[in-house]
């Protein structure tokens, strides 16, 4: 929060207000806050920021990978896939957690969230490459869900 | 204002808009062929997204960021359309 305000302040100081200026402001603000940490006391902020960045990078990487793999399948003449609808038990609990997780699953490799069971305990997904269903489950539980819950909790 | 004044981007934009238009045609064939209604809805949704892409490319070509607002509106409303379609598809099975 402070960081954003700082970034905006920076931007406001540097006419014209451009994106690069803001990014610079963000980075500088981060640095200032990091340096000031001993003064204003430790905060979860820095780990959180690192985790969020990590999640976003991981997500983007997965997104690109997913697309490349699907792209191959799309442009090659034969289908090289073994789709399946798989039930995945959920650890995520709040609405936001479930929704974010479902969304991320949809946007990543070969998986698509179909629905959440009414008792919010199971997520049904459609997976394109599901020769090994348990591997798919494991990937999701250990990849996305873990990182997401880390960030959110 | 024409594409010609944009240097590197000029042929890029023409290429990109053409690619996206071709994409829209492909999506349209799916929309026409179906076979199920959800297929058509997905196709329409994709066409809306492709449209957003064209608008983005065109706003670069035209040097007019105001067109991006159209893309925002499109993003908002196309989603609503898709969801409405889906919602009433399933509701239709209730009776």
């Amino acid at each position: 929060m402070w960081n954003i305000l700082l970034a905006l302040a920076w931007g406001a100081l540097n006419e014209p207000l451009t994106a690069s200026n803001l990014i610079v402001g963000f980075v500088l603000g981060y640095a200032v806050l990091y340096l000031a940490q001993p003064v204003i006391g430790p905060s979860r902020y820095f780990t959180k920021v690192r985790q969020v960045i990590g999640l976003v990078l991981f997500f983007l990487w997965e997104l690109i990978l997913a697309n490349l793999r699907v792209a191959m399948d799309v442009i090659t003449p034969h289908y090289d896939m073994t789709p399946a609808v798989i039930a995945i038990p959920l650890d995520a609990q709040s609405d936001a957690e479930i929704t974010l997780l479902a969304n991320m699953i949809t946007l990543t490799p070969g998986t698509l969230s179909l629905d959440v069971s009414s008792d919010r305990k199971t997520l049904y997904i459609h997976a394109l490459y599901a020769k090994d269903c348990d591997a798919v489950r494991r990937n999701i539980k250990n990849g996305f869900e873990k990182r997401l819950l880390e960030v959110l909790r | 204002m024409t594409f010609e004044g944009l240097g590197l981007l000029s042929w890029t934009v023409i290429l990109v808009t053409t690619m996206l238009s071709v994409g829209a045609v492909l999506a349209f064939t799916r929309l026409v062929r179906g076979p199920s209604l959800p297929d058509r809805v997905v196709a329409l949704d994709l066409i809306a997204t492709l449209l957003m892409g064209i608008i983005a490319a065109y706003s670069v070509a035209a040097g007019q960021p105001v067109f991006l607002d159209v893309a925002i509106v499109l993003a908002l409303i196309a989603f609503l359309g898709t969801v409405a379609f889906a919602r009433y598809l399933e509701k239709g099975t209730l009776r």
Binding site: - | I14, A24, V32, Q64, V70, V73, G81, Y88
Partner: protein
């Protein structure tokens, strides 16, 4: 004069109330006003006789040249006296005849309305005013013929009279307006001064034909004679007044009135004489053939109207004299006979002359009146009818090479004599016939009319000089358009005409004697009349109805797609013809080049539209509609309209959502139109599309010089305080459009709400 007409109309309006006030004596009370006017007109005869004419004029609709102008000359005076005088008697008679009828007040109102209209007709000097009264007589006659409205026959007869006279009225109006166009005025008196010019005009013949159509229908000339006998459905006082004495003579009046203007040409003479002669003979023949008292009188009226027409057509001095005398005589005797017929029917309950007899014993006064009137009708001395007949035969005799006319006249005279006997004498003599209830002499209100009328006929027959200079001469002068001295007498001395007269009387007596037998024989000629004009009337009405039904079913078929097809085809044909014959497309095909994505976009939009057309799935079609909409939005983006694109995207998606909301549960498309129809529809649609394409190409082939946008660009920020010119136009420059637009939206929403939420209670929804 204006006062006379207006006061009678006022009386008509107040008649129902006066009737309620006066009760049984209402007839006498209401007759007092016409009596006053009768006396007034009688007094007027003094200046008229001295060659003057009285006129009055009030501007009415000067913009159209319509004035409330009246002219009292010899001709109109005769008519005015007949109208008011007989009117008095008929109103009095109605007091008795209609006594106890629940709608007697209304009856008076209609009768007086007719009286005022008729008076207006004969007094009017402005053609349109004349026409207005002409039509008013038709309307009041309609109401009076249909007075016994519970009877289907009465309603049919009323309609028939209205239509036939209306059929003539409209051409008459056209003729009047054409005369107005020729002469630059609608005043009859000013027309007369331009008679030469009118006769020389190429419009002369059409005008004559149109005028005569009006006159012939009104005066029941062949072939329009059939409505008059049917009009006998009216209460008898009406028959006496309208269909004997006054209204049917309006056509005769018209011919007489316009004679100085239009008369004298060959067309005029031949057409009128021929029609008059035919009517005269046919009327007499049919009268002879019938047994219903009122019908007999009606047909004989037709015959007399024919005679009058013939005489006016011939138009010689003597003929005109004869016409005027016969006009007067006929009004007197036929009015009397009709009233007598009413009395007889009132007493015996029948109108069939074969079931009457010996009434002179029970109804002596009535019988006397009937006898005198019949004498006049028969053309026997010493009554006015005889005087008239003599002049008339002489008039025909004097025309060279009119042997046929003369023969027809003599035969008609014979038949008329026989009919007069059968109708006016036979019921009163001989054995008393058995009737439903025994007949008694009627009260004075009944017999006053016949006695006065018949008596007048007698007096004038003996002393024609009473009216020679005061009435007849001015009337003839008006018809001929120049002064004329009339001298009448019962006896002219021996001449060939007396011989003719004698022959006709002898023949008539023979026909009277053999009436019963001949009638039976003649009724076998009915088949000839089965295909007569009456039948034509019926057939043409039927045909009209059938035509109406067929055409209407064809046009208003109920199929919306046929309506649309018609409208689109009309547009394509009209606009297509216009554009192809008038517009050039040169230069339309030059312009900036096409970018590849634009070409793809164009193709996509067209493909989506085509897909929507041929989609078998409803929601699939809706989705393709979405593609069209998005494509259009993209065009708006590509050509600098972000506001439009935004709105288009929003609206298009919302539209799709609305479609989904309303249609998701409907079944799949079914019910296809047959293939040829589809091919036709495709063809028409493509032509419409081609029309639009052509329009656009032609419209945009030259650059548009912007007239408005520089102003908006200039003022938008400075005075509109906005940078988005489109928005400034919407909320400021053209804010009224937007106000209307949001009104449309509001109403649409409220309407949607009402349509979906308002469910009418059961009993209201049928």
């Amino acid at each position: 004069m204006t006062a006379a007409i207006l006061s009678i109309f006022v009386l008509a309006l107040s008649a129902p109330y006066l009737h309620r006030l006066a009760g049984k004596r209402s007839g006498w009370v209401l007759a007092s006003l016409p009596l006053v006017w009768t006396l007034y007109f009688a007094v007027c005869s003094v200046p008229i006789a001295s060659g003057e004419s009285l006129s009055a004029s009030h501007a009415w609709i000067p913009t159209l040249g319509i004035n409330f102008s009246f002219l009292l000359d010899g001709l109109s005076l005769v008519f005015a006296l007949i109208i008011c005088g007989i009117g008095v008697l008929v109103v009095v008679y109605s007091g008795g005849y209609m006594a106890g009828h629940p709608l007697q007040g209304r009856f008076y109102a209609f009768l007086l309305m007719f009286m005022g209209s008729m008076l207006g007709l004969v007094l009017a000097d402005n053609a349109v005013t004349l026409f207005i009264f002409w039509e008013l007589t038709s309307v009041s006659s309609y109401l009076l013929i249909g007075f016994n409205n519970d009877r289907k026959e009465a309603r049919a007869a009323a309609l028939q009279a209205l239509l036939v006279t209306g059929l003539g009225g409209l051409p008459l109006l056209a003729a009047f307006l054409m005369l107005g166009q020729l002469t630059g005025s609608l005043e009859l008196s000013s027309w007369m001064t331009q008679a030469q010019a009118v006769r020389a005009s190429p419009l002369y013949l059409p005008i004559v034909i149109l005028v005569l159509l009006g006159a012939f229908t009104k005066s029941a000339q062949v072939p329009f004679h059939f409505w008059l006998p049917n009009a006998m459905e009216a209460p008898t006082p009406v028959s006496a007044y309208l269909h004997a004495a006054t209204m049917v003579k309006a056509g005769v009046y018209l011919i007489a009135r316009l004679s100085p203007l239009l008369g004298g040409t060959e067309a005029w003479v031949y057409v009128i004489s021929a029609v008059g002669a035919a009517t005269m003979l046919l009327g007499a023949y049919l009268a002879y053939q019938h047994t219903d008292l009122k019908r007999i009188l009606a047909y004989s009226t037709v015959s007399m109207l024919g005679t009058l027409t013939l005489l006016l057509g011939v138009g010689t001095h003597l003929a005109v004299q004869a016409a005027v005398v016969l006009l007067l005589a006929h009004a007197l005797y036929k009015g009397a006979l009709f009233l007598v017929a009413g009395s007889v029917e009132h007493e015996t309950g029948t109108r069939d002359i074969t079931r009457m007899g010996g009434l002179k014993r029970s109804m002596p006064v009535t019988a006397a009146a009937a006898g005198v009137a019949a004498l006049s009708m028969a053309g026997l001395p010493p009554v006015l009818g005889f005087v008239g007949k003599e002049v008339y035969l002489e008039a025909l005799w004097r025309i060279p090479a009119a042997t046929v006319l003369l023969a027809v006249a003599v035969v008609t005279a014979m038949l008329t004599l026989a009919v007069a006997g059968a109708a006016g004498v036979r019921p009163f003599i001989g054995e008393a016939a058995s009737t439903a209830h025994p007949p008694h002499e009627t009260p004075p209100s009944f017999w006053l009319g016949p006695i006065v009328l018949a008596g007048l006929g007698l007096i004038l027959g003996v002393f024609p000089a009473l009216v020679e200079s005061s009435l007849l001469s001015p009337a003839c002068a008006a018809i001929l358009g120049r002064p004329l001295e009339v001298h009448l007498s019962l006896w002219h001395g021996f001449s060939p005409v007396v011989g003719l007269s004698a022959v006709s009387i002898a023949g008539g007596a023979l026909l009277y004697a053999t009436h019963a037998r001949l009638r039976g024989f003649m009724s076998r000629t009915d088949f000839m009349f089965r295909w007569g004009p009456a039948r034509c009337y019926e057939l043409s009405l039927e045909a009209l109805d059938r035509l109406a039904r067929v055409i209407t079913r064809r046009l208003q078929s109920g199929y919306l797609r046929v309506y649309l097809l018609t409208i689109v085809a009309t547009t394509v044909i009209l606009a297509g013809y216009t554009i192809i014959s008038r517009v050039s497309w040169a230069g339309a095909f030059s312009g900036p080049g096409v970018h590849p994505h634009e070409a793809v976009l164009a193709g996509l939009i067209v493909a989506a539209a085509v897909a929507a057309v041929f989609s078998k799935s409803r929601l699939g079609a809706v989705a393709t509609l979405g593609v069209v909409g998005y494509g259009v939005a993209l065009i708006y983006v590509l050509f600098g309209a972000p506001d439009l694109a935004m709105t288009q995207v929003m609206v298009e998606t919302l539209t799709v959502i609305l479609f989904v909301l309303m249609f998701y549960h409907l079944p799949r498309f079914g019910a296809f139109t047959p293939r040829p129809a589809r091919a036709r529809d495709i063809l028409v649609s493509l032509m419409a599309g081609a029309l639009v394409t052509g329009l656009l190409l032609a419209a945009t082939r030259r650059p548009l010089v912007p007239r408005l946008s520089p102003f908006f660009a200039d003022k938008s920020l400075a005075y509109g305080h906005g940078r988005n010119i489109v928005n400034v136009i919407l909320v400021d420059f053209r804010g009224l459009d937007t106000l209307g637009e949001i009104t449309v939206l509001s109403v649409a929403a409220m309407g949607v709400y009402a349509l979906l939420k308002l469910r009418m209670p059961k009993e209201n929804s049928k």
